[in-house]
Amino acid sequence: MVSLEQSRDCRIQKGKNVGMQETPSEQLTQALINVATHADKKAYAYLFSYFAPKIKRFGIKQFGSEAMAMELVQDTMTSVWRKAKLYHPEKGAATTWVYTIMRNASFDALRKIKSNREDNLSEEIWPLFHDEQVCEKSFKDHLQSNQLKEKIKSLPAPQRDVVVGVYFEDMTQEQLAQHLGIPVGTVKSRLRLALKKLKVELGEQHD
């Protein structure tokens, strides 16, 4: 067990010099906020130029393959763009947030190689978001019926992801397939199953 004392020294702090170069921690965090609020492409390009080569270096170490390292860059940086609005600066530096996304993508990729499973478990093991309230609110905005909300929540996770992606995040089935790393056919069949289940459940209650 490491003592708290030891680890605290290594936390990213404003102006902390790590010996080689000063981490532009504040600029990175600000850039991420600009991406979130204005879909600012310049700010994104700055984040990209800072993180991408380092993600690639991490990927080469993890996979020993340049092609897979580039895939990791692609996966991670896509999530950074798409999830930017869900970043909360008060919960940590941009570097830690990007690290979490990268490590999760790397874990899912390793799992795909080792077990041939595309279950994207990383988000359950290292959730990016702990803030249940944010979630609650978005549901209230969109769903009049608490009942439907409960039903959707009780769907098996793969079906729930598809329903939420299509109906609450306005993703196309193709985008969703790409995001979840599953074939479009699977998205369609999961959606069909989920809707069937919801209809049965709600129908039963209304009878």
């Binding site: 790590v18 692609q74 798409r82 830690t96 990268m102 999760n104 093991i125 979630c135 985008q175």
Partner: protein
């Protein structure tokens, strides 16, 4: 109070995302139950993030990066989150809220041998088997050692062995050097991860192979 925690070495590999899924699920579940390890995890992750990103990189932007930026910024952004309801697991008339990482896994059906019931998680990790195990009050598992290792994360109830009593959240990692015969007075629920067949030590227990196979 939780007395058994993942080692620092395991925690660091967990933060790098290098462990098998079953092991990382168990560590994540322990972190959810243990404030001390939750704080330590956060500190170590910040530390690992800066180790990964602070060091300058020789390679500059490549041609591929340019087109990647263009493609990515054409994608739409998410602005909603879905809330996650904690999953409740029922066993022996008890209701237990499962840690998020465990609740997310697909569970096979339960098999029983005496007071012991086991269902396997469908993780497809070869010789590594992750299971949910519950033992009825008064149940025990015959004395055994391990050729590989056995990890037990106690989720509910208590059990005891030669080393003492365990409480929910305890992360108990045993390897070939340990003999033990766990028993539970009031019943318990555990996440277990075993990487090789258990070896039963005592004469009669050798006849209890069904339990050996069951809990492996």
């Amino acid at each position: 109070m939780i007395k058994y925690h993942p080692s620092k070495q395991l925690m660091q590999k967990h933060i790098l995302g290098e462990l098998p899924a079953g092991l990382s699920v168990a560590i994540a579940a322990h972190i959810e139950l243990c404030d001390k390890c939750s704080n330590e995890f956060e500190l170590l992750e910040v530390q690992q993030a800066s180790a990964t990103f602070d060091a300058p990189c020789e390679e500059k932007e490549s041609f591929e990066f340019e087109s990647m930026i263009d493609d990515i910024t054409k994608l739409s952004m998410y602005d909603q989150l879905v809330s996650q309801e904690p999953e409740v697991f029922e066993y022996q008339d008890k209701r237990v809220q499962l840690p998020r990482a465990i609740a997310a896994l697909k569970l096979g059906s339960f098999m029983n041998a005496g007071k012991v019931s086991r269902a396997r998680f469908e993780l497809d990790e070869g010789p590594l088997r992750s299971s949910l195990l519950h033992i009825k009050p008064g149940g025990e598992i015959p004395e055994h050692t391990h050729t590989g290792f056995e990890l037990t994360l106690l989720l509910d109830g208590t059990f005891e062995d030669e080393s003492g009593q365990y409480v929910p959240g305890d992360f108990i990692m045993l390897d070939g050097r340990h003999n033990h015969s766990p028993r539970t007075k009031d019943g318990c629920l555990c996440f277990t991860l075993v990487d090789n067949a258990l070896h039963f030590n005592k004469g009669l227990s050798k006849l209890l192979n069904p339990i050996g196979k069951l809990i492996y």
